[in-house]
């Protein structure tokens, strides 16, 4: 069956079963490989994208469930104000190591910062604990989110 999906401002038509997870449409059908496969069960967060601005695990999100939602991926997150701040903080604070989980980390952190310009440590725990990093960059991720939040003016 054919589905129409809106990704990063463009409309794509894909011919797959309705229960196909969005992750595989992105990676294998459309060739957008920035979104990563980690577990297939929403346990690790590597596949995180934004659906209408909400951080969502694309590995368990079926294509038929998307309707007219707007999907944003790592390839375009830098075009959002929160995404750009997070990416810059990630670079300034030298967060990445192997980097494989970082697309998902950045998508989760960007959604957090967009909805909560000055997150507390508990807010960061809540938003980020679904994202596993085997390289253990957690300490720097927390610091980078705080760094990005500092660039938000007070009362944002």
């Amino acid at each position: 069956m054919s589905f129409t999906v809106k990704i990063n401002g463009s409309t794509h038509s894909v011919d797959v079963d309705g229960d196909t997870p969005l992750l595989w449409v992105l990676r294998d059908v459309l060739g957008m490989t920035g979104t990563k496969f980690g577990c297939g069960m929403a346990l690790c967060g590597a596949c995180t994208v934004h659906i209408d601005g909400v951080a969502t695990r694309s590995c368990i999100t079926s294509i038929e469930s998307l309707g007219k939602s707007q999907i944003t991926t790592i390839e375009a997150i830098g075009e959002t104000p929160a995404g750009a701040k997070i990416q810059k903080a990630w670079l300034d604070h030298e967060v990445v190591q192997c980097g494989y989980c970082q697309s998902g980390q950045i998508m989760s952190a960007s959604a957090l910062l967009a909805s909560n310009p000055h997150p507390s440590n508990a807010d960061i725990d809540d938003a980020m604990s679904g994202n596993i990093c085997r390289c253990g960059t957690y300490v720097r991720i927390r610091e980078a989110i705080n760094l990005a939040a500092q660039t938000n003016e007070k009362g944002d």
Partner: protein, 724 residues
Amino acid sequence: MIPDRIAFRASDTNLSRRSFLGTSAAIGGGLILSLNLPLGQSKAANSDSFAPNAFIRIGSDGQVVLTMPYVEMGQGTYTSIPMLIAEELDVSLKQVRLEHAPPNEKLYANPLLGVQATGNSNAMRGAWKPLREAGATARMMLVAAAAKRWGVDAKSCRAQDGEVIHVPTGRRLKYGEVVAEAAHMPVPGNVTLKSPGDFKLIGTRAKRLDAPAKVNGTALYGIDARPAGVKIATLAQSPVFGGRVKSVDATAAKAVKGVRQIVRLDDAVAVVADHMGAAKKGLAALKIEWDDGQHAKLGTEEIARELEQATLGSGAVAQNTGDADKAMASATTKVEASYQMPFLAHATMEPMNCTVHFRKDECEIWIGSQAMARLQAMAAKAAGLPVEKVNVHNHLIGGGFGRRLEADGAVRAVEIAKHVDGPVKVVWTREEDIQHDMYRPYWFDRIAAGLDDKGRPVAWKNRFAGSSVIARWLPPAFKDGVDPDSTEGAIDLVYDLPNFHVEFVRVEPPGIPTAFWRSVGPSHNVFVTESFIDELAAAAKQDAVAYRRALLDKSPRAKAVLDLAAEKAGWGQALPKGRGRGVSLQFAFGSWLAQVAEVEVSKEGAVRIRRVVCAMDCGTVVNPDTVQAQLQSGIIFGATAALYGEITLKNGRVEQTNFDAYQMLRMNEAPSIEVHIVKSSEPPGGMGETGTSAIVPAIANAIYAATGKRLRKMPVDASLLKQA
């Protein structure tokens, strides 16, 4: 894997430069990690480019391309190795572009291992001299070429930021302008390396060169390879190691939209499809009957029992000093204990994968590998082709930890690709990845010490049993029943132990393959020795830091890191009830490290690691930010294993399947980590694995301090810590 002391072909460290000289630009084929642009294909060097050795190529446009003999899996190699070359070549990191080295053991072997592999935290140790010499050689030839063109003495010229400057006149030539002549300059017989005082890059917090591509989704890992027309496959392998496929009913699988083909092998079935969604759906629809084979009833307990039994016999002597039996007999106090470490999976974030295009007389492979030449050889064997007909493209690695030193995945992918027309990317589901890993060995240790009337250890005896990964991976290094990896951290201890006897009993477990796992031998041995020395301190009723310190007169660098960590951690200061501090001290991978962990244990027995303070002496620091990052990383990796890591077998099957049962430390559990680095001008030591082995005993010792309970079996069992 191989500590320096029995390094293979170690003399090649000096010879390597000369053997590389004269090699022209035989480097094409690898993918480029571009620093300014998204990834692209390697350009063949044009005829007037300058390639004085296998690592450096400078085009007439001035572009400096560095070919990376070590792979980037997060440890920062793609920044620290270029820093070495750029320092001596006198270019800025902004001027360089990186390529992954192709498989070529002659050109790209790690001088400390003798094989082309990235592991054992020894990239920097192996590269420190030869790659600076490679940069210096190129610089001298460029300077000579410019001097010749100007008709001046080369001694009156110097290099700076990619240019040659004639000092008396201020004339300048960019490197790109003299590459054609430089290529014909004689290769200097002796190169003088910069003295540390002249370093501009080494020692600085240079930014990671791979970071920009990793924050915007353009970094390419093996799993992102998409050769034209590629199909996606996923697989089910015999749930019991050594089992076979008995029958397959693929009727329902073939009816799944997007499924193209079912490939049946002896011990696995693969579903080939247009995309992974269809492949997984097809796999779920397969009805496979397995013949479980001889390990159908195997359980972890059986393996542990066999290892325990083995420690009651005798093993190969790994180290013997003095007379431990005699000293033990006359000791005032005898302390005995046994320790166990579980099987562990690697669980790299990037699941195992390999893309293969098999043709009649050649084979092309896309993968992220820590050991390219080994992979090429094994893939060629599986393909039934000569090695030179197998073209391997390496990629960034989404977590290695030793898993990608193995080529089993590539072999499997080749077996599948032989049945597929066109390229196929084989992707392991997380379940397959965890249940068909090659695991850190299970170990059983029996250890004893005798103390004199002052509590000082006068005898030390340790016999441990487990798999020797080296015996399979690098057979020549397994000699007389011992190997340098299995024993690292159990022998050559920093402590003054006059009567010392350590034996290793090699026991290969049935029905479960073993492999290197981040921090390898020390991941086991440092836990045992540092837990046991803590037990001795307790038996002697002495402070754990003071007790260690009194045994360190022959190890000043060890004493210095212990003192520094203790001071920074506030060792000895009171803590609230339920909290405790534990210390560990290790010399491994050529570096000295002390850690103090502070834990909190709840009434229910839940352990929370609050804070870790470490002091590191890793010799010359190439990039202090990398040292800090690797310690943070290693500590989280080891803490994950200490709190959660355990792979168990039941009925021959690995019981854990995904991150629900094989748990990882997460953001809300991450401790604060403080890193203190000791200044040193000694040659660099290894970094990437040190934090992992040192944190496990620090946690166990902290739990003891908090609760009085000594945990001798990892991972932490909260039920043992629950307050009645």
